[in-house]
Symmetry: C2
């Protein structure tokens, strides 16, 4: 098993550590947190022993472990990942990996120079249900005529925001908003299934803090468009859809995909059998560990290419909508 | 009952005549068709007697009837409606009433001068289920935070189009395409429920004939956006949605609305009871006849205002997408 260090002690880090336990892919050895008490409570909750705690990030990266998982606020990813790579660690960063394509390029180049792995934790594209979608698309590619992906969930932080607070995910300082959160899932859907779009246009509904509470994104491909609807200020229940002429593949959701249906020519709707693991992060943990253990360069290159395109599309979408992050000004 | 003349002998005209029979709102007395045989067959199918047939449009409008229902290809609406009004007929025109806002303005002015009624047959906004939606929106207006309307049906004519034929609905000559067909329903949804949008942006997927096979339309209102997805080249099954913060009203469809659900804060989904008439054109037939019989000017003005805004939005959407009709060049 690969030794794992983690940054942050939130629910998503906990879910990732559980996934690595369930799949015996990584072994947690080091935790970084700003406060020792938080780290201790996190470790106790997970029923772990002999875990090294650091409250100093520089010191943390000098410790002896192989791979770090970073699930801090978006705007912190870049500096933390950069420091990790400089210290020879493999890096798994929650999506989106960076705030700008410039930052992405720097990390990509640095990881190559340092001969370490750089993964963007796009968990859903590793799940069996997504592999099934890829299969269906491959089987019907000749009829492919577009898609609609939607992922819109009312965030409890939005209540805080409306109450006058400034939760990270609703600020330009932390590269927040709908696009750089739920939007990443739907852009991965499009990029993995259809490749790099020719044109990107994002129509955003801005909040007073300058970020996008929700929005509608169009990705144009040579022969069809992909429409994407995302938001953190509304609850949506509509299906996502991939079109094949008269036939349609229905996904219950564009990000957290749990069920597939096939609607045929006569509008008969039938279930498409597939598997769904209990912990949605299991598959990515297994795949990242496998790639590193087997040194599977083609698979790694493919994931890195997806990440590069997705992060480019994210920035193109932002630019088209006039959505500016503080990270844009820093570089 | 009001005497009715009809132009065209297609299925939609038949459905409208049946609606007028069922509701005893109009009495069919005159039929215009280019060929007498077609008119006779149409009348026989409806089991009608003593119907006057005209194969000359000028002569048809000289006949003695009160109101004409026009369901010809879009691009013919304007000249036919104009001629009807000039001959003192009340006019019910299938949506969209015209190809350009200029044409709409001419008809509007002329109808006013000639003291006749001009109706756009936006049937769905007259249905009980739509009145229920208006009620729900009124009850929750303080929380209103946007909507998504979709109406996307694969047209059998698209097969003809792909086989190299030129069906009217897929040509710029007849003002065809997704926007000026299914799109009209969804724009009516937005205009009736939320008023006139501040900004209109249409991203269209063009076919080789120059019309939009499908597209994504954003209508911007001061505090929220409405996203619209329409198409004649794909089959969609996603629900349409109106957002009220954490709550969501679900419509099974944005045009042919048959069912409503309410999704609450806890994501419990419950049926919203409502009525649906067998023939979706019953309600509009009753309402148009009532307005004329009772000379209900406020109701008439409201419908005409909706029609004006919808036709303006249609043209703004076309312009934003670069979608040009032959009707644009003729004026």
């Amino acid at each position: 098993m690969i030794n794992l260090g983690i940054i942050g002690t939130n629910w998503i880090t906990e879910q990732f550590v559980k996934a690595t336990d369930e799949t015996k892919s990584f072994s947690l050895t080091h935790v970084y947190s700003r406060t020792e008490a938080k780290a201790e409570s996190f470790i106790a909750d997970l029923d772990k022993k002999n875990i090294q705690i650091s409250t100093d990030l520089e010191a943390f990266f000098k410790e002896d472990f192989d791979t770090v998982y970073i699930a801090s606020p978006n705007a912190l990813h870049f500096e933390q990942a950069k420091l990790a790579i400089e210290n020879g660690k493999n890096v798994i960063v929650e999506k989106p990996i960076t705030s700008t394509i410039e930052e992405f390029t720097i990390l990509d180049k640095l990881a190559h120079e340092k001969n370490v792995y750089l993964f963007e934790a796009a968990r859903h594209i590793q799940e069996p249900i997504f592999k099934k979608i890829e299969e269906v698309v491959a089987d019907h590619r000749a009829d492919l005529s577009g898609a609609t992906f939607s992922y819109m969930k009312y965030s409890s932080r939005y209540d805080d925001f409306k109450a006058g607070k400034t939760p990270n995910v609703f600020t330009t300082k932390f590269s927040g908003g709908a696009l750089y959160d739920l939007g990443v899932y739907t852009i991965y859907d499009a990029v993995v299934l259809f490749g790099q779009p020719e044109k990107v246009c994002y129509d955003a509904e801005f909040l007073s803090s300058g970020i996008d509470g929700s929005g509608s994104l169009t990705l144009s491909y040579p022969t069809f468009d992909v429409n994407i609807i995302i938001g953190k200020t509304k609850n949506s229940y509509m299906s996502s859809e991939i079109y094949f002429g008269r036939d349609t593949l229905l996904l219950d959701n564009g990000g957290d995909i749990n069920h597939l249906d096939w609607a045929d020519d006569n509008k008969n709707i039938t279930d498409v059998p597939t598997n769904k693991s209990e912990n949605p992060m299991d598959s990515e943990a297994v795949e990242f560990a496998r790639i590193m253990t087997e040194k599977d360069q083609p698979s790694y290159d493919k994931l890195l290419k997806y990440a590069r395109i997705v992060n480019r599309v994210l920035e193109q979408a932002r630019t088209s909508a006039g959505l500016v992050f503080e990270a844009d000004e820093e570089n």
